[in-house]
Amino acid sequence: MKAKATSSLLVGVALLFMLPVLYIIWKSFISIGDGEQVGFQVLHNGVSVKQYLQIVLTNKAYFFFFLNSIKLTVIIVILHTAVSVLAGYGLSIHRSKTAGALFIVYAVVMAVPIQITLIPNIILYKWIEDVFNIHMMSSRWAVILPMVFSTFGVVVMKLYFDRIPKEIIEAAKIDGATEWTLFAKIALPYARPAIGVVSLFVFFDAWNMLDRALVLLSKPDLYPLSLQLNVVYERFYNYFFAAAVIYSYPVFILVQGVQKAYRKVGSYE
C-alpha cells in the first residue's frame, strides 16, 4: 500500500518536472498567426507543422545563429576535453605539495560563479586591445578560450585518474613503458567514462551559452542561438516553440544516448 503511494507520488513529481518540456513540444505544433502573442494557451488555431517548414526551408537567420552555436560548441567541447584530460592526468601523477596546492586552486576556480570569472577575462581583453590593438571581443575566441580552460574538466579527470590501481602502473613501468605509453595505452582507455561525462557536461554548458556571450562578444552576429532565441520569443512568437524544439534536438539525442549507456552499465551489475 505504502509502496504504491510512493510510486504515484513519484510519477506525479516526474510529470510536474516534464510539464514545461511537454508544453513546449506540444505548442511547437500549434498554429499561431504572425505577430500574435497568444500567451499561456494550449489550444489556439489548431495543429500545424507550417512553422517547422518555414524555419527549415526559408529562415536564413535561424540557420546563421544555429551555425554559430555549432561552431562554438564543437571547438569548446573538443579543446576543453583534450586540455582537461592532459591536465587531469598531470595532476594525478604528481604527488608533490605543489600539485596538491594546484588542485585546490583549480577546485576554487571551478566553484567561482561565472560573473566573477568574467572580470579577469574583460581585464585581459581590454589590456590586449590597448597593447596589441587586437579586438578580442569581436572574435568568437573571446568566449571559446574561457570555456576551454575552465577547470571543471580537470577536477573531474584528476579525481578519476586517481582511481587507477597502482599495481597496473607499476607493472607497466617494469615492462618498460614510457610516460607517453602509460598515458595513451593505460590511463586513457581506463578513463573513457569520465571523458564522456566531461564532454557531455561541457556540451550542455556551451549549447546553453547566455551571459558569457552577452558580456564578452561585442558583435551580435557572433551570438549563439541560445541567446538569440530570447529575441525570437519577443519578436517572432509564432516561430519560437518550433525554433526551440529544433535547437533542443541534439540535447534529446544525447540524453537518449546516456540512457542507453546507463542500461548497459546496469546490465553488468
Binding site: 591536465a87 566553484a111 516553440f241
Partner: protein, 265 residues
C-alpha cells in the same frame, strides 16, 4: 621533466585568462582608473558603500540562497531516496535532469508564457524564480545523490531492514551518515547553481529585473557592461566573501548535524 608537459596547456590558460588578470585587478578599487595607477584611498569604497543598488542586491541574494538552497537539497535527497532502488529509475532520472540539460531560453518558454498570463501577479517574484530554480537545477544535485545511493554499502541497509528499522530511522541513522561525503558536494553544487539563476531572471525579466529580484549577479553584470572596474572588483571581493562565509557556515552546520546523529548511534 616530460611528465610536467601534461599540465602546461591548462596551466597557461588558467593563469593567463583568470588568475593573473584577477590579481592585477585587485588594485582597481584603490586606483583612480584602469590606466591611471594613482592611489585614491577609499574614494571608490565610500561611493560603493553608499550605493543602494548594491545593498539591495546583497540582501536579495542572501534571502534567495538561504531560502532555496536548503529546499533544493532536501528535495533532491527525497527524490533520490525514493527513486534509487527502482527498476525503472532511469526514466525518473531523465525527467528530473532534462530541465537542466535543455538551454535556458528553451526551457523557460513555458514559464514566460505562464507568468505573462497575469495569474501570478500577487505572488512575490522571488518565490516565482525560486520555483523555476528548483525545477531547473534540482536534477543535478539529485543525480549526485543517486550516485551516492548506488555506491552505498547495501549490506548495512539490508541488515537494518531485516532488523525491522522504520524508514525514518533508516534515513536518519543509515542513509544520511553514509552519504556524508556527498552532502558536501551537493552543498557546493547547489550554491553554484543558485548563482546561475541569473540566466533564469535574464530570460524571464531581461537585463533590468524587478527590484526584488535584483541580485549580486545582476549588479556585477551591469558593472561589467558599464566597464566600471572599481565597482565590479569591489562587488567581486564581497561576492567571494559571501561565498566563503556561506560555504563555511553550511559545512559547519552539516558537520554539527552529522556529529549529533553520530552520537545518537
Amino acid at each position: 621533466m616530460k611528465r610536467k608537459l601534461f599540465l602546461v596547456p591548462s596551466l597557461l590558460g588558467v593563469f593567463v585568462l583568470f588568475i593573473i588578470p584577477f590579481i592585477i585587478g585587485l588594485k582597481f578599487p584603490f586606483t583612480s582608473s584602469f590606466y591611471d595607477n594613482t592611489f585614491v584611498g577609499l574614494y571608490h569604497v565610500n561611493r560603493f558603500a553608499g550605493s543602494e543598488a548594491f545593498a539591495v542586491a546583497l540582501r536579495n541574494t542572501v534571502i534567495f540562497t538561504m531560502l532555496f538552497i536548503p529546499v533544493s537539497i532536501l528535495l533532491s535527497f527525497a527524490l533520490a531516496h525514493m527513486v534509487h532502488h527502482r527498476k525503472n529509475s532511469i526514466y525518473y532520472s531523465v525527467a528530473f535532469v532534462l530541465p537542466y540539460a535543455l538551454p535556458s531560453t528553451v526551457a523557460l518558454g513555458f514559464f514566460r508564457d505562464l507568468f505573462d498570463s497575469g495569474h501570478f501577479g500577487h505572488i512575490p517574484n522571488l518565490l516565482l524564480v525560486g520555483v523555476v530554480f528548483l525545477w531547473h537545477y534540482t536534477g543535478i544535485t539529485y543525480l549526485i545523490y543517486i550516485i551516492g545511493f548506488r555506491h552505498m554499502d547495501n549490506e548495512v541497509v539490508e541488515a537494518a531492514m531485516i532488523d525491522g528499522a522504520s524508514s525514518v530511522s533508516r534515513i536518519r541513522f543509515i542513509e544520511i551518515p553514509l552519504l556524508k561525503p556527498y552532502h558536501y558536494f551537493v552543498l557546493i553544487i547547489a550554491l553554484i547553481n543558485s548563482l546561475k539563476v541569473f540566466k533564469d531572471t535574464f530570460v524571464l525579466f531581461g537585463e533590468y529585473p524587478p527590484l526584488d529580484l535584483f541580485m549580486l549577479q545582476n549588479y556585477i553584470y551591469l558593472k561589467l557592461q558599464e566597464l566600471n572596474y572599481p565597482f565590479m572588483m569591489l562587488a567581486a571581493y564581497l561576492f567571494l566573501a559571501v561565498i566563503i562565509i556561506g560555504a563555511v557556515f553550511l559545512l559547519r552546520a552539516n558537520r554539527k548535524l552529522s556529529e549529533e546523529l553520530g552520537e545518537e548511534i
